[in-house]
Amino acid sequence: MMTPEQNFMRKIEAEEKIEPKDWMPEAYRQNLIRQISQHAHSEVIGMQPEGNWITRAPSLRRKAVLLSKVQDEGGHGLYLYSATETLGVKRADLIAAMQSGEAKYASIFNYPTQTWADIGAIGWLVDGAAIVNQISLQRTSYGPYSRAMIRICKEESFHQRQGYELMIALAHGSPAQKAMAQDALNRFYWPALMMFGPHDAESAHSAKSMTWKIKRETNDDLRQKFIDQTVPQIEFLGLVHPDQDLKWNAERGHYDSGEIDWKEFYNVINGNGHCNRQRVEHHIRAHEEGAWVRDAMTAYNAKQRAKTTEQRQAA
């Protein structure tokens, strides 16, 4: 007879998905709650830096595109909160944990969007890095998370393409536009690399996540993929690569790259980025300002229900 734990590991090893009603180790459940909710918070907070430019997009076309993209990110947040809720937690609690700072979101969104070129750089590099990670997560062992990833990946590719298209327009435009594109690349390249998390040796959650197949590839492997795929994209734009130590390594078949500034990474994670406070404050404000809508819906619902009971009693 197999113990529940053995049966769980048998499924994991056989590449079978774990579904909500299956037995699972408590640590697996907690690990998933942490990772998926953090992912959900990132989608939602990620709307802010881009939302900053919707009213100032340079054309109606660009504005419609950006609006659509930001709308998608809100939807991604919803898919992921719903997936987290299958693990027996309440969405309100998850949101409270994010607002109190107890739960994290991707550090990249604590950087400001200073120019219109940042919108291009974000779509291209930030969504690009997210896609590398999310493609890998389509094979995660938890069914609802995997299905959310498959749905999200389908929607993501337009995000990266619109960003890169915007970068082409700027990089092939006037000298001032090209300089703006270069500046955005310089500021977003390194934070995009940080999105994959610390080196494998330093990653607190990695080993267990790999055994349980919550994560399928390590931080460093995913980062390498992103570094490699981005080189020809920078070349095509005719921009200077921000990493001066970047060198093709024929033996490895990959690019070697310069070291990431990990001090900056931990500094931003620990709350000292440019926009950490602003992002959370804005989220709290939007949430509180929306309270009357939720209250009105509850009141309307109660009224409707009272009406039907009355009608039923009258009949």
Partner: protein, 95 residues
């Protein structure tokens, strides 16, 4: 036999772990528990699934096919929501 107090249930089956539950049909039953047993007997006789959901048909809220024009119309004029809308040069078209 009293059949008029039987409820209509919709049946959803998950064929394999990792897949979504898919609607396969409906049946009449006295309650949810019975509906599950019936569903097993009539919809998974050949091990078609690893998990069954049953939902009372009257609990399902459905959009109307006749309204679909106005319901979905807002997305029809937004081709830029699709990746193919963005024409990129061959050298970088693999994103």
């Amino acid at each position: 036999m009293a059949t008029d107090n039987l409820e209509l249930y919709e049946v959803f089956v998950r064929a394999r772990r990792g897949l979504d539950h898919k609607h396969v049909g409906s049946l009449h039953a006295q309650d949810a528990e019975q509906a599950l047993e019936y569903a097993r007997d009539v919809y998974t006789r050949r091990s078609e699934g690893v998990s069954i959901w049953v939902v009372r048909s009257r609990d399902i809220c459905a959009s109307q096919e006749d309204d679909s024009e106005s319901f979905y119309d807002p997305s029809d004029d937004k081709p830029y929501r699709h990746a193919t809308y963005y024409q990129l040069p061959e050298a970088v078209n693999n994103m």
